[in-house]
């Protein structure tokens, strides 16, 4: 085998022009494929490794409305309902059946710092309850999170992240300072590390991918509502809900406007929780007497993400395209290899005549093909990095995720090797079938 490797290496140097052509072709195919796969890999990556496997979105359809409330967008009816009414969230929170649980909604709003010349800003904040931070593992740089008691008391407290602290106050040492939100004044009790899971899975309705957007602060839901800030959007309201203050806002007590996430350690606990949700829903229906409600749902992060189809179609399409480009490059390289192997028919004939088995010939040539493709892999590395760099230059909200992590770095060479073996198979097989007698005679 070592001899075959050596022969393959020598063979590689024999026709440098066709070697270079083959290496460049393979490198182009590999680079295109790896660029798109790296992006796809980042976009489909686990948003919160270690935690997302036991996070579930809980949903109960308690909105008392005719089914006509279902939105129809130009004839296509999409049932995207996943939020619940704050009233139900409070009941579920009170029952406290999961390890952690929190209702939440990302809100785009304006805010300002304290002082005579306050700095202003407007960005996303997360309105939630005390258990959000431990449930999703948001780490605190200083201070503390708020307590369930503070939730109950509608305490005007806030946890902001360090980057917001710097941009708004010029320092991360902001504990105890005032933060103006709506018509309320909130006290900063904690500074967190910037928290930007990709995608923003716990509230996809506001945004999905992008390092530029994240929830910059965490505010107790009830105190935020007290400050007159409205939640964005809802999945339908009770028919008998009170009239809204304006045309565009809705009352979260009567409108499904919060996502309710729970942490359940294992499948058994999850099915118990689902049963509990369904019981909760059945009791509600007994009260209300409204028909046609959908059963309660408990959706894990991975199922939730695939159901919501968060990966842009373009990215998948590009990956397919790049894959077929690689396939074509492989066909092309196989042709080049077949040509160079058959050009050596006479030598192969002599080796065979001197007793080399077909297997040895085959091995030698597959090795040569693999070497060419591994060289192509080395050349593809800078090309891939270049491809990812150009992707990052594009501004589509998610392209800043286009980077090569170690796993994909390894995958590049694994792919290069596999491509080499597959590409070399047919030409090497053809070379190993050469009849020794015929070649020796004509040489």
């Amino acid at each position: 085998m070592r001899y075959n490797l050596m022969l393959a290496w020598h063979g590689l140097k024999r026709f440098p022009r066709s070697t270079v052509l083959a290496v460049v072709t393979v490198a182009m195919g590999l680079a295109a494929t790896m660029t798109t796969l790296a992006l796809l890999h980042q976009l489909t990556a686990d948003p919160l490794p270690g935690r997302s496997s036991h996070l579930y979105l809980a949903w109960v359809d308690t909105v008392r409305a005719k089914p006509t409330q279902n939105q129809s967008l130009n004839g296509i009816t999409v049932d995207q309902r996943h939020r619940i009414k704050l009233r139900d969230a409070e009941e579920l929170l009170h029952d406290h059946r999961a390890t952690w649980q929190a209702p939440m909604a990302s809100v785009f709003t304006q805010f300002k710092s304290d002082g005579d010349k306050p700095r202003k800003g407007s960005d996303y904040l997360l309105a939630t309850t005390s258990e959000f931070l431990p449930m999703l593992g948001v780490s605190l740089r200083s201070g503390r999170s708020w307590t369930p008691a503070e939730d109950q008391a509608h305490a005007p407290v806030v946890v902001i992240d360090s980057e917001m602290a710097v941009s708004l106050y010029g320092t991360t040492d902001v504990l105890g300072r005032e933060f103006h939100l709506g018509h309320g004044v909130f006290r900063i009790i904690g500074v967190s590390a910037p928290f930007a899971p990709q995608p923003h899975f716990y509230d996809l309705a506001s945004f999905t991918f992008g390092n530029l957007r994240r929830d910059q602060a965490f505010v107790p839901l009830r105190s935020l509502l007290d400050a007159g800030v409205d939640l964005a959007g809802d999945d339908g309201c009770d028919v008998d809900s009170p009239k809204p203050k304006t045309l565009f806002t809705s009352d979260p007590m009567y409108c499904a406007s919060v996502s309710y996430w729970v942490d359940l350690p294992d499948r058994a606990k999850a099915s118990d929780f689902l049963a509990y949700l369904q019981r909760y829903l059945d009791n509600q229906q007994a009260l209300v007497g409204a028909g046609h409600a959908r059963p309660a749902q408990l959706t894990r992060v991975d199922a939730w993400l695939s159901q919501q189809n968060v990966v842009p179609d373009n990215v998948r399409l590009n990956a397919w395209l790049a894959g077929s480009f690689l396939l074509l490059c492989m066909a092309n390289v196989a042709g080049l290899l077949a040509a160079r192997f058959l050009r050596r028919s006479a030598e192969i004939g002599i080796r065979r005549a001197l007793g080399a088995p077909q297997r040895a010939i085959f091995q030698q040539h597959v090795f040569e093909a693999a070497m060419i493709c591994l060289l192509g892999g080395f050349l593809a590395l800078p090309l891939t990095l270049f491809g990812l760099w150009t992707l990052r230059l594009q501004d589509s909200g998610f392209t800043d995720l286009a980077t090569l992590d170690p796993a994909m770095f390894g995958a590049l060479f694994a792919l290069a090797f596999a491509v080499g073996i597959i590409t070399g198979w047919l030409p090497a097989w053809r070379a190993s079938r050469i009849e020794p007698g015929l070649q020796v005679k004509s040489a």
Binding site: S18, L21, T25, M28, A32, K66, P67, T68, N70, Q71, S72, L73, N74, G75, I76, T77, K120, K243, P244, K245, T246, L247, D313, N314, L317, N318, L321, A322, S324, F325, L327, L328, C329, A331, N332, A334, G335, L336, A338, A339, R340, L342, R343, Q394, D395, S396, L426, P427, R430
Partner: protein, 407 residues
């Protein structure tokens, strides 16, 4: 040209012949679909907006702190903007074409209907169609006495008071066709959250500010509601003056009320460019891939062609010695390539069709038009012939004397 000898030669070079066919088939399948997607993107980029893009500016501001009397401020702003040299018309609006943020409503044709018939965007603002420059094709424009103020409408809606809500609208031709196919929309009624609106005018085209679904790209209504959102569109007399007018207009607005921040100031034509940025990038990427594919295929054909010529040098010499002319040899290789390309194209067409079917299922692309097949075939035949020309000429240059050597 006798094809039989070529076929019998190819039968003896199954591996290499197979590889050439595979290459051509793959290229054909991928390039057909990629070019199709590029064309779709280009169509999208060139989408008709129905507004006079070359004459329009967009300015959006936001107040610092709470302001009172938005309506008076709006009147002041509009009057001031109208004074700026080069300005033809101004409107205070809620949204702009290509603005990527829109207000939308569900339309019913009967208030008792369970599901809405269509979802359409609604443009507000006095004088908005005139400023945008949409083309009225039936009925009339909205008149000043149709208009009501936004805050009054909101109050009326909260009180479920139909009198305080406008009752006429102007819609696009596309929306009219969707709602009442083959009929005139004038005088017909649509319902939005139980309030009736009578269609008094139809415009040819007015694009939505954000497009999720291309088939609904111009499902648009214009409602007679005055808004004071600090968002203005300005129409200029001459496209050449746009930059200057934009600067002057923004300066003027800041002068009137310095307590506000300019959020956006754009030429509408630039907004259009930004709006289709992704489509342009995708089309560029696909074009690059197509070129790379064709180059790789051509190189592959050159490579295999050269190999065949080198391998058959002696046979060529023999043929030449037996009386074959140079052009006979040239034709031989050209015909051989044509045969391989034809088989490759045939397989490729089937593949292209299959890929298109897959894309139709998964990515909602339309069916590949039949014209792609002959054009694709022609392209690949040409590339094949060009690629094989070099090796074939080298083959034709083989002198007959080779036949006598090395035996």
């Amino acid at each position: 040209m006798d094809i039989l000898p070529i076929l019998s030669t190819l039968r003896r070079h199954k591996t290499t012949a197979f590889l050439v066919i595979a290459e051509i088939a793959l290229t054909c399948a991928i390039v057909c679909n990629a070019v199709f997607i590029i064309n779709q993107r280009i169509d999208r980029i060139n989408m008709e907006s129905g507004v006079d893009e070359q004459h329009l500016l967009h300015i959006a501001l936001t107040n610092i702190g709470v302001t009172k009397d938005d309506k008076a401020r709006r009147a002041e702003d509009l009057a001031a903007l109208q004074q700026v040299p080069g300005v033809v018309s101004v409107a205070s609006v809620n949204q702009v074409p290509f603005g990527n943020s829109s207000s939308n409503g569900s339309i019913k044709l009967d208030p008792k209907q369970r599901l809405a018939t269509a979802n359409a965007t609604d443009y507000f603002g006095e004088n908005v169609t005139q400023t945008l420059g949409t083309q009225l094709i039936a009925g009339r424009e909205l008149k000043p006495d149709d208009y009501m103020d936004m805050d009054q409408v909101v109050t009326a809606a909260a009180a479920k008071d139909a009198k305080g809500i406008p009752h006429v609208t102007v819609i696009t031709q596309n929306l009219a066709q969707r709602l009442w196919p083959g009929q005139s929309a004038l005088g017909k009624q649509i319902y939005m959250s139980d309030y009736a609106f009578t269609v008094v005018g139809v415009v040819k085209e007015l694009i939505r500010p954000s497009i999720w679904d291309d088939s609904a790209k111009s499902y648009t209504m214009v409602l007679p509601v005055r808004v004071a959102n600090n968002e203005y569109i300005v129409r200029v007399d001459d496209p050449k003056n746009r930059e200057r007018v934009l600067k002057a207009a923004v300066a003027k607005l800041k002068e009137i009320n310095p307590h506000r921040i300019v959020l956006k100031q754009h030429l509408l034509s630039n907004m259009r460019e930004d709006f289709f940025q992704n489509d342009r990038a995708m089309a560029g990427l696909l074009l690059g891939v197509c070129v790379a594919l064709l180059v790789v295929t051509a190189l592959g054909i050159v490579g295999l062609g050269s190999f065949w010529v080198a391998q058959r040098r002696r046979q060529i010499g023999v043929r030449r010695a037996l009386g074959a002319t140079r052009s006979n040899i040239l034709r031989y290789f050209q015909t051989e390539n044509f045969l391989l390309a034809t088989i490759g194209i045939a397989v490729g067409m089937v593949l292209a069709y299959g890929i298109n079917l897959l894309l139709m299922v998964h990515y909602e692309l339309p069916r590949l038009p039949a014209i792609y097949f002959p054009v694709g075939a022609l392209l690949l035949w040409t590339i094949g012939q060009l690629a094989v020309l070099g090796p074939a000429m080298r083959a034709a240059a083989v002198p007959p004397v080779v036949a006598t050597r090395s035996v």
